[in-house]
Amino acid sequence: MTSDNTTTKPSARAAGGTGEELPGGARRESAVGGVWQALASGPAGFLGSLWPVRAMGYLLAGGVLGLGWLFLAVGLVVVGILLLPTGVGVIALLCVPASAAGLAGLERRRLRWLDPREAPSPHQNGYAPGEDEAGGNAARRALRRLWRRARTPATWVEFGFALPNAVLSVLDLLVVVLGLGLVASQPFALLTVLGGDQVMYGEGIVLTEPVQVLPWLLLTPVFAALACYTFAGLAGMRAALARAALVGPRREKELDARLTEVTASRARLADAFEVERRRIERDLHDGAQQRLTGLIMTLGLAKLDADPALVAKAQDEARAVLAELRDLVHGIQPSVLTDRGLGAALEALAERSPVPVRVDERLGSLRPAEALEIAAYFAASEALTNVAKHSGAAHATVTVRGGRTLTVEVRDDGRGGADPERGTGLTGLADRLAVHGGRLRLSSPPGGPTVVRMELPWADGAQGAGAREDGSTTGLTEPPREGRREIHAAGDC
């Protein structure tokens, strides 16, 4: 490759070496750039590429989708109106906007055929407090989801897109059929003449011999090029329209909505922190501080009288202070969580629970990030407190799973009927999880069972990764603390 190169400078040769790949690279680049860039790349590049076929495919699929949706929507409306007295009609009517949202989802996905840019959904798919915590059976949950869809402004914009889109779809299909017909017309004429029939081109031009048709065949490439450009141009415009309607600037509004929710959630969190701070202050004041003062009084008396009974009393009081402080500190951050991880901490929590709790944890040697562990632990702790306080359950199970999400599920066999609207506990719980992009699902039909499912996007614990590295490297990094080593040793067996 370099020996017969005419350039002499090594640097230029090197540049030539990379330059050889440029044409291919450039073509790939234009493919990345989308249909407009392909159109702009000149007739040779465009007509030689697969873009016209892609554009045609886009138009055909879009036409089928758009018309298909129209039939579906009309059907749903008719069924909905007919069945309105039975109540089922409401579901059918609610399905109309939801179906438009479904169509919009497909349209957004289809955009990738012609347009490499991201096409994010304007729908909020994060945590929505009080709405995600679905209770009741599957039908009610589905109904609630439909209702939520129908209440979202983005859904109605999508509906507004879907209606004219259906009309445009018919035009798309017409254009494709006409274009293909034009391209096929001359070869078809040739075949007709070969078959012995005659072909008439307007007034007075009647062709009966194949030789007479041949010059007209020259028109076919022109028609083909015309069709290619028409398809690409139309598809590009349709894609731009879809992008403007379905991806466009409304996303900012949705972001605003999410920001409002985040602000509200943050305010609730700040309140929760304030309550927590007060609780700790009160616990310290009413507990340890009073006990220590009492201890000082007892010691003062003991000093006066040198009474062994008073000294013994003082010792008991000191022990009580220590126990109280231990409980308080444990409530702030259980050391077993830091040292041994979520599974061990939940086991310890289960042992203290008045309701028998089985812990099923299968994280193995994996440890999520510390913040996730803490959030999951306190969420589980709150859920177990609710089980003990309200559910009347005889048993509870805590299931912990890792993977792409850290899932903690607390299930009890109690009376059910937990309602996030009534207590702030569940909302607070959801807020805590939302901080880490997680969410809370609650299923608690009257009569039970209650299932609280907490999901957090997984993030690896820095310590966990560090400890794993320690196992493979030559100990250049700092050795892990005893507790962590044990965890990973246990995980490796």
């Binding site: 009413d286 501080q289 009073q290 003062t293 000082i296 009084m297 003062g300 008396l301 006066l304």
Partner: protein, 236 residues
């Protein structure tokens, strides 16, 4: 003497009763909140009241409010306020109600003999201010420049004066003769340009007022009905 004590922690109430009984004082009522304190005082007409600051129902400063109210209704009733925290403004509010008041940290009770001495001083119409209050007023960053003119011993005497101790009490605490204390006190009052006070309580007021606001005229600070440095937040 006969006392009413108000303290919401049963543990501390018992401990306090035990200590008082050990020194021959009679606790005629031990109560757990401010309204009960007012009732108990009305019912038992005690010689002295010992009360906590933070009590039910609000768990804020109900005890202190009750103490100030008692002082207004019965100006001759000595009240000793025990607190978990030192709050100089509480001390100022109490001092503004006249003599026979005390403000001590709860853990001072552990120094049983000193606590009893302070209590008896208050019951006898004297004053007891927690050393911590005084220590804060004497903190180096807010100390008046004139204080640098005092000798180390004079500063100790000044602190003891601010706590409300009598000359005899100061002499015992510092293990010096009472005559020496008298000499030190006179020297301090001269150096700080404070008028000689007719009784211990006014001496405390003068010294504390001086420490809180050294630029204030000493004469007004020693006024028999002193306006406290800050107006009481709990007008009775």
């Amino acid at each position: 003497m006969r006392l009413v004590i108000a303290e919401d922690s049963v543990l501390l109430r018992e401990g306090l009763s035990q200590i008082l009984a050990r020194f021959g004082h009679e606790v005629c009522a031990g109560v757990g909140d401010a309204p009960a304190l007012l009732e108990a005082v009305a019912a038992h007409a005690p010689d002295c009241v010992v009360t906590d600051v933070r009590m039910p129902p609000g768990l804020r400063d109900e005890g202190l409010r009750a103490a100030l109210q008692l002082r207004t209704e019965h100006p001759a009733l000595p009240v000793l306020v025990l607190s978990q925290y030192v709050e100089n403004s509480y001390a100022a509010d109490l001092l503004a109600t006249g003599d026979g008041v005390g403000y001590l940290l709860k853990d001072r009770v552990g120094e049983v003999a000193e606590f009893i001495e302070a209590l008896e001083r208050v019951a006898a119409g004297g004053t007891a201010i927690d050393p911590e209050v005084v220590r804060r007023l004497l903190a180096p960053d807010r100390e008046p420049a004139e204080l640098r003119r005092l000798t180390a011993r004079e500063r100790e005497v000044l602190a003891a004066m601010a706590e409300g101790r009598s000359n005899g009490g100061i002499a015992r605490a510092l293990v010096v003769s009472e005559a020496a204390v008298v000499k030190h006190v006179r020297s301090i009052l001269t150096k700080l340009d404070l008028p000689p006070a007719p009784d211990d309580h006014r001496r405390v007021l003068a010294v504390l007022a001086y420490l809180r606001h050294p630029d204030r005229s000493p004469a007004t600070a020693a006024d028999p009905a002193p306006a406290p440095a800050r107006t009481p937040r709990h007008p009775a």
